[in-house]
């Protein structure tokens, strides 16, 4: 996939300054960057190394350890289907199947037009309304196959 994001360096500085270049905030800084681009663009890594005074290995260590960080571009809409226990027993895998079919991608993949990324997430804390899914930060509950597909369609 061609990477085409334009990095807003001023914004990067603002994020790093917000945490006072504190190396303990590395994960949160990367999350804030992800909130803008939906992933951590490789171009920012040298800046992080320099500003936070951390080794490159730590950045990759953190980026690959935590699920919320991706080093690959992800879609504009991240569809996270809850696969937590409560949603699992209420048929979460059927929702996942239906969306895999609809978006023609597998769990963990991104559509070619970079519109959707389909992910599984272990519980988003709306267990009483299961099965649920999140599109970016919006939660949709009480789903079945049909309504799940409809929900995702409404974003395209």
């Amino acid at each position: 996939m061609e990477n085409t994001v334009e990095i807003d360096w001023q914004k990067m500085d603002e994020i790093i300054d917000k945490y006072q270049s504190n190396r303990e905030a590395l994960l949160m800084i990367m999350q804030d960057i992800s909130d803008i681009y939906n992933y951590v663009p490789p171009e920012v890594i040298p800046v992080l190394i320099q500003k936070l005074n951390v080794p490159e290995s730590l950045i990759y260590g953190v980026a690959t350890f935590y699920k919320t960080i991706s080093l690959e571009p992800r879609g504009k809409y991240i569809v996270s289907v809850c696969t937590g226990t409560a949603c699992h027993v209420r048929g979460a895998d059927k929702i996942m199947d239906a969306l895999e079919e609809r978006l023609a991608i597998k769990e963990g993949q991104t559509t070619d037009d970079l519109l959707f990324t389909l992910e599984g997430v272990r519980c988003i804390g709306c267990c009483a309304s299961g099965p649920v899914l999140n599109v970016n930060q919006e939660t949709h509950g009480g789903l079945d196959r049909t309504s799940a597909v409809k929900t995702v369609d409404s974003y395209s």
Partner: protein
Amino acid sequence: MTTLENREALRSIRSSFEARLRDSKKKLISLCAGSGCGAYGTAKVYDTLMEQLAEHNLENEVEVKLSGCHGFCEKGPIMVIHPEGIFYPQLKEKHIPDIVENTIKNGDLVKKLIFKDPATKKKITYEKDVPFYKLQQRVIFGNNGIIDPTRIEDYFSVGGYAALEKALFDMSPKEIIDEVKKSGLRGRGGGGFPAGRKWETCAKHHGDRYVICNADEGDPGAYMDRSLLEGNPHSVLEGMIVGAIAVGSNEGYVYVRHEYPLAVTNFSQALESARKYGLLGKNILGTGFDFDIHISRGGGAFVCGESTALMASLEGKPGRPRAKYIHTVEKGFRNNPSMLNNVETWANVPVIINKGSEWYASIGTEGSKGTKIFSLVGKVMNTGLVEVPMGTTLRTIIFDIGGGILKKKKFKAVQTGGPSGGCIPEEFLDLGVDFDELTKVGSMMGSGGMIVMDQDTCMVDVARYFIEFLQDESCGQCNPCREGLKQMLDVLTRICHGHGREGDLELLEELSDMVANASLCGLGTSAPNPVMSNIRYFREEYETHIRDKKCPAGVCKPLFFYEIDQELCTGCTLCAKRCPEEIISGEQKAPHQLEQDKCIKCGICYEACMFDAVVVK
């Protein structure tokens, strides 16, 4: 907002807000804005409500509060109209004009919106009479429905920060610790370790002590921590300040899951307003005591709920646990004494200080005091958050409060303790739930997830599900956990796919034994629990999978097929209409046929049939 400089200033502001709540003549509409109701559309309902009130010129006569989670999330969005306590569940925007016109303006009920109890089919008007709430004792969770979590003044109005006042001015640190010890409070995050003892040990060690709140809530299916942080953040905050006074700490951290953005927002706001009032920061209430709290967001790793991993993560590193030869109360975060407690544990602290350890210890059982919030979810009629005294039976929780199993199906098991717990079968329904009783039957309390399973849940699949989860979440440092869980998953997967072999159960038992005894951290040592408890109570179901290559619950796709019972089928055509593959055929009012070889086993016909005519074979 002005800084409160001393005890009197805090007292006077609290009593003025208490009085305002007590003497208010206005109608109060409390609309739940918790995550559960939010998922069903609270935002739209709220907008319509405000529009309608404006249209009727009622904005100044009615107070509208976006409250935290009321707990009855299944029926969201929920509205309660005070002072009467009129309960309107499952609201949509279109219902609002009726409510404003009739109930708010004229004081009449909107009959069609009144709650109908699914179990008894009785109409219930008032919140206090709803069976889901009636049998609960909401010591920790009760204020969620009446306060706006973004307003510290609302917390004052329900007696907020009285415990902080007492702890700062009337008690010595040792007395606080003694009070917590006497209360019998045990940690709500999983292990059930006595909180007072942890505090006492932490206070004895020297260094910059840290007070930390574990809001990682990794147990999938449990969300009480989320609801507390979102719905009553100041109660958690107050608990943490009291803890800091007790052990002499000047800095605290809250480690919140990334998946909980609203909790982060509401808690950040709580910190902000507490700082403005001078309840956090330097020289709190003029006593010379300094304390402040930072929020750290996790990155979606289950293992980061474990204490040493959490502290590594707080330090900005990958969250890998370490062996606990030296406990974190001695050397934890930044190698300093660190006192970690769960969100719910912290929320219990103000109650203990306010009402006294004696009162607190009068609730619950011999070994487990106080109440516990359970997240009652899965195949149960009334899902939501349930707070009951320790020792309440599973039957009361699932059947009386929960209203029994969905669609009149048969109860099969209840899973407690999350990925470290186990499944409890029907024979133990009369078990009084507390830390020790759950452990005795091979499960555990965990953080209070209670996932109800019915006849359509396959126990082998559940075990496979948990082991898949855990091997995915294993940090990979130690061999037994990394490789052992992988092997267990292989065995369980082949059983679910119909390739199970004689001896597989013994192999699983052997692997479980190894993983449980040789792993580095709690993730590995407790990982085999879901498998072991399952084999113990549902061995027959495993054997059916292995020997007969059948999945009686109809979950493991290669091991069953659907058939239409020719006697039971009424020919209503519903299944044929819904089938995505269009492979069900038949005349109206005559039994239908299903083409086996084309069936994808999606289960839509099985769910749709109202006559139990689609059967699992």
